[in-house]
């Protein structure tokens, strides 16, 4: 059994390319085929770049189903780009990191805080969270996933998480898949003692659940 992990930006760095898949393989013991879209090193950052990316995401998904015979696909981005169109293009289950994380958060709480790196919460997450979204915060100085690798990012992100709790959040969900790379979920759970949902872990969890049964 294997799943396809679609990264929605272009990289030649194998460590970066495999970061999400490695986490899922470690947690769920499920083989991952990791691929990224071509010719978009900056990924998705506005409507135009999303529009450009979606046909590439669909092509990758079809290729993964046909050539790699994967049993399921994760669009490994909190904004779920192209999710419904990819579902129409393949016959296997397809999930998006953002909607998985938002649904998991809703399973445990109606008071949810979102930690993001952008100036908004991705639309699919906002829609799912509804009035359970009590607050969202962006750590100071963190504007993209690269910023999460800076030394001070962890302390700044912890401060933002503490602010979310101050705002009334009883569960925290990340609106960025980059937090998994720095192992921030574990750090935060230890520090705060409340449920913390990481989108990469969430997508791996649901695919493992439906493909293996429970």
């Amino acid at each position: 059994m294997s799943i396809g992990i679609i990264r929605v930006f272009t990289t030649e760095d194998q460590q970066i390319l495999h970061a999400h898949g490695n986490k899922i393989e470690k947690l769920y013991n499920i083989n991952c085929v990791n691929r990224c879209i071509p010719d978009q090193p900056k990924g998705i950052y506005d409507d135009e770049s999303e529009h450009k990316a979606i046909p590439k995401i669909i092509e990758l998904a079809k290729e993964m189903e046909e050539q790699h015979a994967v049993d399921g696909i994760a669009i490994s981005c909190a904004a779920d780009p192209g999710l419904e169109l990819v579902r129409q293009a393949v016959t296997i289950p397809v999930v998006g990191a953002g909607s998985c994380a938002a649904h998991m958060a809703k399973m445990v709480s109606r008071k949810i805080g979102v930690l993001t790196i952008a100036n908004e919460v991705p639309a699919p997450m906002t829609e799912i969270l509804g009035n359970s979204l009590v607050s969202w915060r962006k750590p100071e100085g963190v504007n993209n996933t690269a910023d999460l690798l800076k030394e001070e990012a962890i302390e700044k992100s912890i401060s933002s998480a503490e602010e979310l709790i101050g705002d009334g959040a009883e569960t925290i969900v990340f609106a960025c898949t980059g937090y998994v790379t720095i192992g921030f979920g574990e750090i935060l759970k230890d520090r705060l003692g409340i449920p913390v949902i990481d989108p990469v872990e969430a997508e791996g969890n649901i695919l493992s659940f439906i493909l293996r049964g429970g």
Copy 2:
């Protein structure tokens, strides 16, 4: 680490009492404390019986947190009776089987069929599924969990699941925790080849996810 499993009817039969917990222990290797509410052998079947059950569910939850030091609680019924009130009464995460199953189904599909044993889909599931609920079916001759143990129940349930697919469903979710007892999720997945979500597996999955991290 351990979790509390609240059964919303009264039984002295240890095998029945432990059925959900045993499944969760086997799937997620997490210790379960299994308890049932007193003086309601028929469980919850209308508004009045639900009204009577909720204070008992809250009491059980408090007792599990205080005396058994469980780390999380599952209200193991697809109707999520008392979920928000139990959350207010304890400090640990609380989930309901029905909302967990509905959210899991929504992670993988927008075309969801519900297999139930009652003449309606529990309200929390309907609310979560929204317009992703394409159809629901009740197997012929199955009116309560005991009926699921009858010889013909599996074939009748398979027929209903096939009807759901005919109605356009691409994922099936059970609106009854009794299906886990007969291992119906596995049977259906083998037969139909589409994702099948069982509420008991779903509640175990999310508690394992948030308590252990991923």
